[in-house]
């Protein structure tokens, strides 16, 4: 039995000795051949991250991104063959990666990108009930399975948009907190909407099982300004499911 553990270890650790028992019949050394596997593994995973986080890459530049991704790949390789789960761990890594601390918003922008991937693959809504009675205020709302809130003290939607190529990069005049709602709309497009702190609270209360009326009241009490009409339009656009208050549905 050859040493599989040594082979696996040396794939991620460029300084590790070559595993025993390798054979090359023609041409170069086993080192050169093993380097192909090393490169496939490490570069392949870095490429996958670069593809998943284009705005994050644009903010820090290709060289810095690849160096950062390499540290992530070597220290925390994927635990599943489904690579989009690997991407979900990248923002958490950025939170704790000292060289990335210089750019305070970086991990939160990466969170938007991770949420977009997640939203693409999320479940479809079960048959929409929308049995709206007269009593809208008493309705409960289930957000679409693709909906993800990303909270941040930075203007992350503006920064993400500028670096995702959706608008020109321009100096940010007003550096204020932005919360993002990421979701898949009825046309299967992934949307990133900037929402106020009050709307973010409103959405969280709905997720916690509050009725529309309760969630609106609490958001208003906590944040002062709260635009219910806009919040309702956002719920409709993001394919939220409204249902009559049976008391049984609280998710």
């Amino acid at each position: 039995m050859h040493n599989r553990a040594a082979f696996a270890h040396a794939l991620l650790d460029a300084d590790a000795p070559l595993p025993q028992g390798l054979r090359v019949r023609v041409g170069a050394s086993a080192e050169a051949r093993f380097a192909i596997y090393r490169n496939n593994v490490v570069s392949g995973l870095i490429d996958a991250l670069a593809e998943s986080f284009p705005a994050t890459l644009r903010i820090v530049g290709e060289a810095f991104f690849r160096a950062m991704a390499q540290v992530f790949v070597r220290s925390a390789p994927p635990r599943s063959p489904v690579l989009r789960t690997f991407a979900q761990g990248f923002p958490v890594f950025l939170d704790a990666f000292p060289p990335a601390q210089e750019i305070a918003c970086l991990a939160d922008v990466a969170r938007i990108e991770a949420a977009r991937i997640d939203a693409w693959h999320a479940a479809d809504a079960s048959a929409c009930t929308r049995t709206m009675s007269d009593d809208v205020i008493a309705a409960r709302v289930t957000l679409h399975p693709s909906a993800r809130l990303v909270l941040s003290p930075h203007p992350i939607v503006t920064i993400w948009r500028a670096n995702a190529g959706a608008s020109d990069v321009a100096p940010i005049e007003d550096w204020t907190a932005e919360q993002a709602l990421v979701f898949r709309d009825a046309n299967d497009a992934i949307q990133v909407e900037s929402v106020s702190g009050a709307v973010a609270m409103f959405l969280q209360h709905l997720q916690d099982g509050a009725t529309l009326g309760e969630a609106a009241q609490r958001a208003m009490a906590q944040a002062g300004e709260f635009d219910l009409t806009n919040a309702l339009l956002l719920l409709i656009h993001s394919q939220a499911d409204f249902h009559a208050d049976t008391g049984a549905h609280a998710s």
């Binding site: 039995m1 050859h2 599989r4 553990a5 082979f7 696996a8 794939l11 991620l12 028992g21 390798l22 054979r23 090359v24 019949r25 023609v26 041409g27 170069a28 050394s29 086993a30 050169a32 051949r33 093993f34 192909i36 596997y37 496939n40 593994v41 392949g44 995973l45 996958a48 390789p77 994927p78 635990r79 599943s80 063959p81 489904v82 690579l83 989009r84 690997f86 939203a119 693409w120 693959h121 999320a122 479940a123 479809d124 399975p145 693709s146 898949r184 299967d188």
Partner: protein, 283 residues
């Protein structure tokens, strides 16, 4: 085992979402599409809807790249269950995986890594294929790998190893002719000798792809299985020879990196179809 339809003995292509609009607008789409299983393991969303649309106009092949059939440890039960759900949901005409490992000690390396061909490896590979076929309730096809290294510990040839796997598990084989050409150059053997020793009667599908030719530090050719360009002439020649022996077989054009315009990929499939058609007429 549940009865499934078959891939038609025609040309298919690896599906890339960027090509979707042109595929559904095409007057004559390819006979089948192949997708990597791991890209379709989300709970829902547009990717599943695309797959349903494709399967309405063509046959569907699900090709796994992450099961780690050659792994030391037991198969990842969660991953196998996800494969079963995918096959249950889309009812593909076939499922295939690789003679390789990609996971060790819980870490997934996202590459198809090489195995020593020993009796111990054979036992493990066969047990993993038995388990996969039982859970998926279907026969699977096993693909010959592209490799860059050999092992001192190997006790048999790759073709003998594959023949034994087929005998013990009843699985079919997926013959990747580009992988044969890559290995022949990298390990110093004749591709035709390998194909002559290959259990061709077990082959259910063929893969064709492009590779990169590099030079090592001694000036020897080193071929890397890159799937980033057209199929080379050597591979086309060997393909025609294999088809002349086996008769027409489902044939996939794999192009995963630097993905070309749909028309370029479609022309590669047409070239394979022309060879298949000629063989069907001659037979």
């Amino acid at each position: 085992m549940t009865h499934h339809g078959h891939l038609p003995p025609r040309a298919g292509v690896g599906f890339k979402p960027a090509h979707f609009p042109e595929i559904v607008a095409a007057a004559q789409p390819p006979a089948f599409f192949e997708v990597h299983a791991e890209n379709y393991m989300g709970a829902g969303g547009p990717s599943h809807r695309q797959l349903e649309r494709l399967h309405a106009i063509a046959a569907l092949s699900v090709h796994g790249v992450g099961l780690s059939i050659g792994g030391d440890a037991p198969l990842d039960a969660d991953h196998l269950a996800a494969l079963a759900r995918l096959c249950e949901r889309h009812q593909p005409e076939c499922f295939s995986e690789h003679l390789a490992w990609s996971t060790h000690d819980g870490a997934f390396f996202n590459d198809l890594l090489p195995l020593p061909y020993t009796r111990a490896t054979l036992d493990r590979v066969c047990a993993h294929i038995d388990q996969t076929q039982t859970v998926l309730r279907r026969r699977m096809w096993l693909e010959n790998p592209a490799t860059y290294l050999l092992f001192d510990a190997s006790e048999m040839s790759e073709t003998d190893f594959l023949r034994a796997v087929v005998r013990r598990t009843g699985c079919g084989l997926l013959l990747d002719i580009n992988n044969v050409v890559v290995c022949a150059a990298n390990h110093g053997f004749e591709a035709r000798d390998y194909l002559a020793a290959f259990p061709l009667d077990a082959v259910q599908e063929i893969h064709l792809a492009g590779h990169d030719e590099q030079r090592d530090e001694h000036g020897h050719a080193l071929l890397v299985d890159t799937h980033d360009r057209p199929v080379c002439d050597d591979v086309w020649r060997l393909y025609a020879e294999v088809i002349a022996t086996t008769g027409p077989l489902p044939t996939l054009i794999e192009w995963d990196n630097d993905v070309p315009a749909w028309s370029v990929l479609a022309r590669q499939a047409e070239r394979a179809d022309a060879i298949l058609l000629r063989e069907a007429v001659d037979a």
